[in-house]
């Protein structure tokens, strides 16, 4: 199996590119006018989960941060789609 440096060889440049894309995305949001909706705050919260996964894998922590944690089925669907983050 590959060692840690093998994994860096395989994925570092791709991950570096995605990391800079995230930074530029947040800069882009900041640079433009108007209020942001729940997705912006949820994204920032997910970045905190990434930094502090609290014993979970980082991917699991980020996914759970963006998830609906209620337990009961809802009365009716307001839309068919999903936003990518739970509005609350």
């Amino acid at each position: 199996m590959p060692d840690r440096n093998d994994i860096l060889d395989l994925y570092f440049m791709d991950a570096r590119s995605k990391l800079i894309d995230i930074a530029a995305f947040l800069d882009r949001v900041d640079r433009h006018e108007g209020d942001t909706d729940f997705r912006h705050a949820a994204f920032l919260d997910a970045m905190e989960a990434l930094k502090n996964p609290k014993g979970k894998s980082r991917a699991q922590a980020v996914l759970e941060s963006l998830s609906d944690h209620t337990v009961e089925p809802i009365e009716a669907a307001g839309t068919k789609g999903a936003a990518g983050a739970y509005e609350g």
Binding site: L63, D68, V71, P73, I74, A77, A83, Y86
Partner: protein, 268 residues
């Protein structure tokens, strides 16, 4: 090396896609019934769709040397209207005599509503009545975790044979929930959502190679009918050996699908 595409919506794909999949080594395609990207105007629209799945697509696929099977249901996005959904479900038994129908799927939840859950439970009862395996769609994005938990609870209450149920579209926060309860898990390789090849392999390495398969779930949206062979190439880059790759891409789907009486295994 041959592979099985266990979840693809070929009604939405071009003939060139069939050709490319055949060239990449695809031997078997399984097509669950799903949402067409718009709501059908009448239950009769599903009659035509079920004919397409059981008659037309197997013939189209055969032209490229690929066996085509299907799963039947009304998808969760159109299950929010229970009256409509039950009219569609009433048609399903007539199609179960078709020789390429594997079972009931892809049923599941979309927005985790009470109506979706009621129709899901009725589909599960239908599968139990006809002794069929079940393929389950889990919700998208922020709805996936809650929906997966609701689905697992419902399946446990119904007393299904967990080894004959595959819960699809798992990600890092749901794969363990599914596998720990004894169900099969499907990983969907999408360019933007669900998971990338690298993440799918991470999950294989984390949760193990048992009771899992990978699929492209290619449809009318942003998706890639060659996602599975591309992931197999990625497994080679990650130094997985041929036996492991063959297990995930061929032996595992063969084992699950072989539980359907209409599935006729082929030699690789």
């Amino acid at each position: 090396m041959g592979y099985i595409e266990p979840h693809a919506h070929m009604v939405s794909r071009t003939t060139d896609d069939y050709k490319a999949m055949a060239m990449a080594g695809c031997e078997i395609i399984c097509e669950p019934a799903f949402w067409a990207g718009f709501d059908r105007s009448s239950p009769q629209g599903f009659y035509d769709y079920f004919r397409q799945l059981t008659e037309y697509e197997p013939a189209r696929s055969a032209k490229f040397g690929i066996d085509h099977y299907c799963w039947l249901c009304i998808n969760p996005k159109e299950a929010e209207d229970p009256g409509f959904a039950r009219e569609v479900m009433a048609m399903i038994p007539d199609f179960l005599t078709a020789p390429t129908v594997l079972g009931i799927g892809e049923i599941g939840l979309n927005k985790n509503t009470k109506n979706e859950l009621a129709i899901f439970e009725e589909h599960v009862a239908l599968a139990q009545k006809y002794d069929l395996p079940i393929l389950i769609h889990t919700p998208h994005l922020e709805d996936k975790l809650k929906g997966t938990k609701l689905i697992i609870d419902s399946l446990k209450n119904a007393g299904v044979d967990r080894g004959r149920v595959i819960i699809d579209h798992v990600e890092e926060h749901t794969a363990g929930l599914v596998l720990d309860e004894g169900f099969w898990a499907g990983m969907t390789l999408y360019p933007e959502s669900k998971c990338t090849p690298a993440r799918a392999i991470d999950m294989l390495e984390t949760f193990g190679m048992e009771n899992v398969w990978m699929n492209s779930a290619c449809d009318w949206g942003i998706s890639d009918p060659l996602a599975v062979p591309k992931c197999l190439q990625e497994m080679k880059r990650r130094q997985h050996n041929k036996a492991t790759i063959e297990k995930v891409s061929y032996a595992n789907p063969m084992a699950f699908l072989g539980q359907s009486k209409n599935f006729r295994p082929v030699e690789s």
